[in-house]
Amino acid sequence: MDALYRDYILDHYKNPRNFGELDPHDLEWHDHNPLCGDELGVHIVVKDGRVADLRFHGQGCAISQAAASITSEELIGLPVEEVAGLDADWVIDQLGIEISPTRRKCALLGLKVMRGATTGDASWPE
């Protein structure tokens, strides 16, 4: 099996979870990876201070789509204020593969937009 393109990564890429749009939604954010132009947007519905539902949309490589898909699953149900505490190591841990410096932004774009929507923080996760 390929060390990067593992079966579950390709599965998330081909069948992304929580992909699409949510209307109406409470929070939204949109951003892109300036290196490759990949774009990602997110819609979030908040209930009782928690991420009640979330959909992401856009286009990107297998790593960025799988990372967004996996991150989305983890975020649903989480108290909104806890999203701010998620960082780059957390995403890479969730992905379970080694990410080279050239693919780092691919892996982090999903969390970046989801964190942007919940906290207004537009910076790249560290």
């Binding site: 990067l4 390709l10 490759c36 297998a62 693919r103």
Partner: protein, 412 residues
């Protein structure tokens, strides 16, 4: 004829030390020359020898080293200018093509554009021939317009005429060869029509000078910009311009070397081309580019062009064997340079490039600094293979093999 070109040029491979490298256990297949080309030993040695034997700064030293450096530097300028058939005192060293275009956008644009004027570019421009004009238009109140890129990948001269006929275009800025589609634009005809309509023309030759014969007197544009690192040379750029314009224009950057006399409140300018070369030049790089054009001239630019054409034709023939592939750009290899953009259904270009790299096949993935064109093509990104003298048909075979392998990893 193509086969002849390949066999004549393939002996040049031995001149490129980097091709001895192995990556991931495979010999290197470098298919990203449109981004930046590899360097022959002759260029590396010219720079080494300058640093080891003749280094000094130019135009100042009274001593022997200063004289030698100046001779090597100005000698390089003369050969570079001759290579594209232009006057050497109208040939300015810049950092790269981007700075050459910015030089015109500042030194000519700020002084000559105003509200009611238009700058006409095309949808296939590289960001470095878009953003400087956006900024110039913002500063001057001029308007930026685009010629469209249809499905064929070729500009319409009728559309150009229609826009020029409105009478507001002051400058047409167009790429000679598209870095994404490979389209060879009819810049000679564009410059002629622009001039007839009272507009200037700037040609971005970043992709043309490296791979085909370019005769600036025949093209007869007002400004021509290009970049050395894609032409087997180091990172240094060139701007060639028309004498009257360069004389009239204000300097771009102020500083040492570009002045004639500095008073407390104002200064007068050095002669051309030095008026536009503020500060200490990238001397070794200029000398290296001199060696690169010598190398290309010895190979023969007709032979280089024939080689690019032959490899492009071969790639356009073989790549369709890869299931799910879409190719972009003109079909006719007489009208396109050595660059082949493609996408594969079900696989993002980033992943294509990553998996090709496992087999030491270097292809580019992304928007290629041409985001407006990507939107026209309706894709976020493409993969791209591009060629230079050191590439062979075998490299194309290795690419096809790597692409088929990549599809397997993705279970396609």
């Amino acid at each position: 004829m193509g086969a002849v070109a390949e066999s004549t040029l393939s002996r040049l491979r031995a001149d490129f030390p980097i091709l001895d490298r192995e990556i991931n256990g495979h010999s290197l297949v470098y298919l990203d020359s449109a981004a930046s080309s590899q360097k022959p030993r002759q260029v590396i040695e010219a720079m080494d020898s300058f640093y080891a034997h003749s280094y000094g700064t130019v135009h100042r030293g009274v001593y022997e080293l200063g004289r030698e450096a100046t001779e090597l530097f100005e000698g390089a300028r003369e050969r570079i200018a001759a290579f594209v058939n232009w006057d050497s005192d109208l040939s300015i060293f810049t950092r790269n093509a981007t700075e050459a275009i910015n030089l015109v956008a500042y030194a000519w644009g700020r002084g000559n554009l105003g509200p009611g004027d238009e700058v006409l570019i095309t949808e296939m421009e590289h960001h470095s021939n878009i953003v400087p004009w956006q900024l110039a238009c913002e500063d001057t109140g001029a308007k930026l317009r685009y010629l469209s890129v249809p499905e064929s990948g070729e500009l319409s001269l009728d559309e150009l005429d229609a826009v020029l006929a409105e009478g507001r275009v002051r400058l047409v800025a167009v790429g000679h060869v598209s870095n994404v589609l490979g389209t060879i634009n009819p810049v000679e005809e564009i410059a002629r029509r622009a001039r007839a309509a009272g507009a200037l023309t700037l040609v971005d030759g970043a992709q043309s000078v490296p791979q085909m014969p370019v005769d600036l007197r025949a093209i007869d544009a007002d400004f021509y910009a290009w970049t050395g690192h894609k032409a087997l040379g180091p990172t240094v750029g060139m701007l060639h311009g028309r004498r009257e314009l360069l004389k009239e224009m204000r300097p771009f950057l102020g500083g040492g070397h570009m002045i004639s006399r500095v008073e407390r409140e104002h200064s007068t300018w050095n002669e051309l081309p030095w008026k536009f070369e503020a500060g200490t030049n990238a001397i070794a790089e200029a000398i290296g580019l001199g060696a690169a054009v010598d190398y290309l001239a010895a190979a023969g630019m007709d032979a280089v062009r024939a080689h690019e054409r032959e490899l492009t034709a071969y790639a356009l023939e073989r790549l369709p064997e890869v299931a799910g592939i879409t190719l972009y750009g003109p079909r006719d290899v007489d009208r396109r340079g050595g660059v082949v953009p493609f996408t594969i259904e079900g696989m993002h270009p980033h992943d294509i490039a990553e998996l090709c790299d496992r087999e030491a096949v270097c292809v580019r993935a992304g928007h290629h600094c041409a985001q407006p064109l990507m939107r026209v093509l309706g894709v976020g990104a493409t993969a791209r293979a591009s060629f230079h003298v050191y590439n062979t048909r075998d490299d194309v075979d290795r690419l096809v093999h790597a692409l088929n392998g990549a599809r397997e990893v993705f279970g396609l």
